[in-house]
């Protein structure tokens, strides 16, 4: 079966700094894959390349077998199908929560304001934020802002959702509410690619865990394999560092 997302020999540098080196990874439809690894190992860049926020230098990124990284391709239709949630939320501060969600629905998908608004209300309701529809982002806690950011991405009904260290900027007591949202997404058919430092969460939610080391996949397997009996020495070292 064609993988949902496929990276084939992807390389990416920023100046003299090579961030991704000949990296290959296949993710099946509906699969949940976590990317773990030290800071600077390339997790964020990998996600940004799938969303076409970065251009790759070499290799190919495929979505349903279609080469989305091809030169000159319009990124906008791809981005409708591949959503991303950022570490720093990046809500639009000058818009209400509801407008944050409906902006792309109306401008990109061409929905009517009423339809978009109903859709946004449904999602807010589902994730316990119904009463926040008309407030502005700076009146929300970090956890609430990140939940809104997830809803904003989900509202586009993406086939793939990229989560870029979405709990790293949160106070510890707010992490749980955000992870609960992600737990709810698993099994809904959406493909999740998650860059994270939350090892417990990665172990619990992932179908597979991928350990990145200096821009390549050092080890990939089920959580039990990777966390239970890591084969690669670098994985063992990394896990020792983060668990102690």
């Amino acid at each position: 079966m064609t993988p949902k997302v496929s990276l084939r020999g992807v390389s990416k540098s920023f100046g003299s700094n090579t961030v991704l080196r000949d990296l290959s990874l296949d993710v099946a439809t509906g699969e949940v894959v976590s990317l773990i690894g030290a800071s600077g190992s390339g997790k964020t860049t990998l996600l940004r390349c799938v969303n076409l926020l970065e251009h790759i230098d070499d290799g190919a990124v495929l979505l349903d077998g279609d080469e989305i990284s091809a030169i000159g391709r319009d990124p906008n239709p791809v981005r409708r199908r591949v959503g991303i949630v950022f570490q720093s939320f990046n809500l639009f501060p000058h818009m209400s929560v509801a407008r944050n969600i409906t902006l792309a629905l109306t401008k990109v998908l061409g929905q009517s304001h009423d339809d978009a608004r109903t859709h946004a209300s449904d999602l807010l309701q589902r994730f316990g934020l119904a009463e926040k529809a008309d407030v502005y982002p700076d009146q929300l806690s970090g956890g609430q802002q990140q939940r809104v950011a997830i809803i904003r991405a989900l509202a586009m009904r993406p086939e793939v959702l990229l989560l870029d260290e979405i709990t790293s900027a949160l106070d510890p007591e707010l992490v749980g509410e955000v992870l609960d949202v992600v737990r709810e997404l698993k099994g809904s058919g959406i493909t999740l690619l998650i860059a994270t430092h939350e090892m417990g969460f990665a172990r619990e939610i992932s179908d597979r865990v991928c350990f990145l080391h200096s821009g390549s996949v050092a080890e990939i397997g089920t959580p039990t394999q990777v966390f239970g009996s890591p084969q690669d020495e670098r994985t063992r070292q990394f896990l020792r560092r983060v668990t102690n």
């Binding site: 969303n51 926020l53 990124p75 906008n76 239709p77 981005r79 409708r80 959503g83 991303i84 950022f86 720093s88 990046n90 809500l91 639009f92 501060p93 000058h94 902006l103 792309a104 401008k107 990109v108 950011a149 904003r152 991405a153 586009m156």
Partner: protein, 289 residues
């Protein structure tokens, strides 16, 4: 804030030692401010009238009868300033926004447009306003354009608008640059085009941030409108000059200055207020002195 912290047990809130101390400090500074103002005022009121030629200066700059006589004429003439101001402002904003957007374009193909926009702001900010008003205000009608498009008033206003749009474009550009790249990333990741991102996400935030510096430029424009008079139109400055010559008295200039102040001071205060508000909103908690 501090008031809310008092326990409201009686009519007289009990002050802590620290609050008592700060209240004393405030009283002390008010006293110093009042005393120094008083000293300066007395010095001016007592010493200036004792200067040897005060009588003549008083007569030629502060003649009360002359004030009453000139005021209606000057206010009438001031209308023209207001009108020039009113039609140049929207032109300036529109032109400046276009230039700022051109300078912020990212496509490599648009390099010539970026270069042109940069050259425009450089030239407009580099040439003295007055010189530009002369060049455009006399030069363009000199081409022999048919009436009414040959009026120096029109081309003087155009020159003013051109110069100011150079400055205002830079203000817009600074505002656009101040919007964090992550906002663009968020908008683009949702599938918005770069134009939609600019229009719905970047510009609204940028403009909000630059309202105070924009008002600052408007205050300055409000005064520079008078420069258009140098190529002919009878607005307040020129009317004051006419009155001065007619009555051999400088009082009309003082009156003109007061009329300008009556408009610019409220505008300046508003600018300051908005600036402070923006500062409070964006710069975090103030440190204690």
């Amino acid at each position: 804030m501090a008031r809310g912290l008092h326990r409201r047990t009686g009519h007289q809130p009990r002050l802590t030692t620290r609050q008592e101390y700060e209240r004393q400090q405030r009283r002390r500074s008010s006293f110093i401010a009042a005393a120094s103002t008083f000293v300066v005022l007395v010095a001016v009121l007592v010493f200036v009238p004792r200067m040897p030629r005060w009588d003549r200066v008083k007569k030629s700059f502060f003649d009360v009868d002359q004030m009453g006589d000139s005021l209606p004429r000057l206010i009438d003439a001031f209308w023209l300033d207001v009108k020039i101001f009113a039609w140049t402002t929207p032109a300036i904003f529109a032109l400046a926004l276009l230039i700022a957007l051109a300078r912020n374009s990212r496509s490599p193909a648009l390099f010539p447009i970026r270069a042109l926009a940069a050259a425009y702001t450089d030239v407009m900010r580099g040439v003295p306003v007055i010189l530009w008003i002369y060049l455009v205000g006399f030069g363009v009608p000199g081409l022999g354009i048919a009436r009414p498009f040959n009026s120096p008033l029109l081309w003087g206003s155009v020159a003013l608008a051109m110069t100011y749009s150079g400055y205002v474009a830079e203000v817009f550009r600074a505002g656009i640059d101040s919007v964090h790249e992550s906002q663009r990333a968020a908008a683009r990741s949702l599938g918005l085009s770069s134009t939609q991102t600019m229009r719905h996400v970047v510009l609204p935030q940028a403009i909000r941030r630059v309202v105070p510096p924009l008002l600052n430029d408007l205050v300055s424009l409000q005064k520079d409108v008078a420069l258009v008079s140098l190529i002919g139109p009878i607005e307040i400055l020129r009317q004051a000059g006419i009155d001065k010559s007619k009555f051999a008295n400088f009082t009309p200039f003082v009156v003109a200055a007061l009329i300008f102040l009556s408009v610019t001071i409220p505008l300046t205060r508003l600018t300051d207020y908005l600036w402070q508000r923006e500062r409070r909103r964006t710069s975090g908690t103030r440190v204690a002195a």
